[in-house]
Amino acid sequence: MTARNRELVGLVPASLLVTAGFAGVFIQRSNALSNVSLTYGAIFLGLCLVGHVVIRATLPYADPYMFPLVALLSSFGIVMIYRIDSTDARQQAQWFVLGLILFAATIVAFRDYRKLERYRYTIAVVSLFLLMLPRLPGLGDEVNGAYLAVHIPGVFEFQPTEFAKIGFVIFLASYLRDTRQVLVLGARRILGVTIPPIKHFGPVIVIWGLAMLILFALHDVGSSLMFYGALLSILYVATSRVSFVIVGLLAFGLGAWYIGAHVPHIDARVQEWLHPLSRKLYYGSGGVSSYQQANALFAQAAGGMFGQGFGQATLTIPGTSAPLLPAPSTDMIYAVITDELGLFGAAAVLITYLMLIARGFKTAVLARDSFSTLLAVGLSSVLALQVFVIVGGVTRVIPLTGVTLPFISYGGSSIIANLVLVALLLLVSDRARRPV
């Protein structure tokens, strides 16, 4: 079977899931199975077929599993969002269509994605500008103390970090392709650890500065960690120098600790992380409120091993519209999944992500030039870390920050940016697997 036929077959489970999922929601809502669920399934299958045809026409050798995995996650996301809020789901479906258009556009426009290297400084500057947009007066939108979105009332709202992450990965992959040889030269070994000359720490300092800027200006620990981790992994793969990673992590820890202590919002998030079940913090005191974190845990406890069943999670306080679990379709969607589908459902979602990420790293291994390798490593890492940051926040592994769960959470910027990210991965993969 050719790669493309495997991809086509891979779309079947996604379509079945979306049909079954909508059927489940309808049964739960009205105790009646309407053929609308079949319609949704058919429309979704149609959309995915369009994506598949684009890939078939342009990238015949690309990885056959990535697109079905993305389709699976997105369809699951649509069903979850529909179950939480049906108008949001309609909106999300529109974003998904727009995302597929940009996905196709990316593939067509960057058939030779290596020309991106030519614009690397432009890309870096634009990304930095995007990142800082939320701080511009009149544009920024402060949500819970962090600056994550650009909001033009009545026109649109988007989260520039979602796009900036791709830009920075492209920049660093391209930059290190040129300089990685230099960074490895002239190193000395001290106590078994290879220490490069001090001047070669330049890139570490630059990405560290970027992470600190995000932390300081945007008050966003999660995004900062996501950017920094992904860029550090590119640096590590480019140079094979563990010392960069160790020094980098120490520097991040110190910087985060210092800034955290001086930015009240970050300190509040840490307090909520450490003491989510404190009565005082639960009811909120001095700008600290662990209500969301605590209810994320309560929701997961309610799910247990097998979950309460699809559509059964309590999201608002009955008889009112007061949220029991704030932001259920965005930040907290993992808690809703765990509540309804239990530990097993949550594990299935995490494993699906891991499979997608594995395909990304596989692409990095297969790539024949170092820019392609580093690009695939960076894109896969940033995706993995985004999942880790939000799921880690919901499960209290790390402090909670509002990034989206890629492909599943409600949000136009997220689904569009991540579809573009996958388009780039497929481009790299097609070149890597093309027979010589």
Binding site: Q28, S233, Y236, V237, A238, S240, L277, R279, Y282, A294, L297, F298, A299, Q300, A301, A302, G303, G304, M305, F306, G307, Q308, G309, F310, G311, Q312, T314, I317, P318, G319, L324, T338, G342, L343, A346, A347, L350, Y353, L354, I357, A358, F361, A364, V365, S370, T373, V377, S381, A384, L385, V387, F388, V391, G392, T395, R396, V397
Partner: protein, 476 residues
């Protein structure tokens, strides 16, 4: 560059493993403590989403049912209002308050399934529907008890001696379980039948005479001196109207409720034996009723100075006065109904119960409360003798006012003085069973406080009427 790529991917696998470990921490390992956390509103909300089962009377009358509210929630309503409030209790999920059978039968009413059905239920979702609890309570007799008590404070408990099934449990003041938080002078959530322990007076002589006969120290025809006053524990004890009876048999002494004779009996039988028999009747511990433990009060003697309960067989207690139901003894109406039931059932005390059977939503009976022996209080021959004497009480003695209804009863009156010395405040009691020779129902009736009222004149007629109704119901 392949080795570093593998290492980065390995690190990501470790990070995802962390996510899984933490997810299982909240969903499995710490789940119970999170569900029990008082901050967790889900516990209450989920409880509100349960369609609790109905509570039914023995004739199928609905005593409690769930009404659907907004957002798939349910609230409880009690169609019979205050008539069954104390027996049934209430369940107010929003404030986390529960009482009575609603609390003690909560597991049935919530329909907590175990094993395979729990897992299947969890996978399927949907509303959790509770089981129906059929009780032993008789609505007509309960209504009659309310009618007869109206205007007074008091309690009625009626038990089927052979099974322990509680047919009537009513007391005044009461409350309306549809509005459990309402307060007022005539409103009380205290269940008089199970929680309000008072001086039993002469009804306790049944326990004393049982100990005296069953221990073999006396027979119904033993003669004891009934002169008055008599020094008991260093203080003179008088009979009613300070009447001196001379030598009388124990049987006659019970018929006329002669205090000085029973005080001597208790002293002669001794503290250890008296305590042993009291324990067999259920004293000194909470009654074994299927009811919330904190709504059950043990019946036991208390120090008159500190009002603290004496430990069993305490050397400080005045066993003579305890033998006539004074001396700081405080008992619940439920306990006294158990005393009557034990005698009625040939000396075998059955565990009292309100729950009869549990029926699941499919109509299958999943649990039936079988009659269970609590203790063998006395030999059948002793029970026969005691019940013979209790018949005499009704036919010739203090219980005569209960005789007029054309049913054969056995019983014992009590008139405890409860005010300061010289006041006329009394607490009238009557315990008994019917029909006297083949008992089908045992009862305890008490009126909290009357001005110079006697057990025979006030409590006995109430008991007789309720037993008459119950007997006609049992035959019908």
């Amino acid at each position: 560059m392949n080795a570093p790529i593998a290492r980065v991917f390995a690190l990501i696998i470790v990070l995802f493993a962390l996510l899984l470990v933490w997810t299982s921490r909240w969903t499995v390992f710490d789940a119970q403590s999170l569900r029990d956390n008082p901050l967790n509103a889900r516990t209450v909300i989920d409880e509100e989403k349960i369609d609790r089962g109905e509570i039914l009377a023995d004739d199928g009358t609905v005593l409690a049912r769930s009404v659907k509210g907004p957002d798939h929630t349910f609230t409880r309503t009690y169609p019979t209002g205050s008539l069954f409030s104390q027996a049934i209790g209430y369940s107010k999920v929003k404030t986390g308050q529960q009482a009575g059978l609603e609390l003690s039968d909560g597991q049935y009413l919530r329909g907590v399934q175990t094993g395979l059905s729990a897992i299947v239920g969890q996978l399927g979702g949907g509303t959790q529907v509770g089981d129906t609890v059929d009780t032993t309570l008789d609505p007509k007799a309960q209504a009659l008890a309310r009618q007869l008590l109206t205007g007074r404070a008091g309690s009625v408990v009626a038990i089927v001696p052979r099974t322990g099934a509680v047919k009537v449990m009513f007391s005044l003041p009461t409350y309306n379980d549809n509005h459990p938080t309402a307060a007022g002078p005539d409103i009380s959530q205290l269940n008089g039948a199970t929680q309000d322990a008072d001086t039993p007076g002469s009804t306790f002589k049944i326990v004393t005479v049982t100990a005296a006969l069953d221990s073999g120290k006396f027979t119904p025809t033993s003669d004891v001196n009934g002169d008055s006053p008599r020094i008991i524990s260093g203080v003179p004890l008088e009979n009613d109207s300070n009447q001196s009876w001379g030598l009388q048999t124990i049987s006659t002494a019970l018929t006329y409720s002669i205090n000085t004779i029973f005080a001597q009996l208790a002293q002669d039988v001794g503290r250890a034996t008296m305590t042993e028999y009291m324990k067999r009747f259920g004293f000194y511990s909470k009654p074994p009723l299927d009811y919330p433990p904190n709504e059950l009060t043990p019946s036991e003697p208390h120090s008159l100075t500190t009002n603290k309960a004496y430990p069993p067989a305490s050397p400080d207690e005045d066993i003579g006065r305890i033998g006539i139901g004074q001396g700081g003894l405080e008992v619940t109406p439920l306990q006294m109904a158990m005393v009557a039931a034990a005698v009625a059932n040939g000396g075998k005390l059955m565990v009292p119960h309100l729950t009869d059977q549990v029926v699941n939503p499919d109509g299958q009976t999943i649990d039936t409360i079988k009659p269970t022996l609590y203790s063998r209080v006395m030999k059948p021959s002793t029970a026969h003798d005691v019940s013979q004497m209790m018949q005499n009480v009704v036919e010739e003695g203090t219980g005569k006012p209960a005789e007029t209804l054309g049913i054969s009863l056995a019983g014992k009156t009590g008139t405890a003085s409860i005010g300061a010395t010289g006041s006329n405040l009394t607490e009238p009691w009557f315990i008994g069973f019917a029909p006297a020779t083949d008992p089908k129902i045992a009862i305890a009736v008490t009126i909290d406080r009357t001005d110079d009222g006697y057990g025979g004149t006030i409590a006995a007629p109430i008991a007789a009427e309720i037993m008459k109704l119950l007997l006609s119901e049992l035959h019908g």
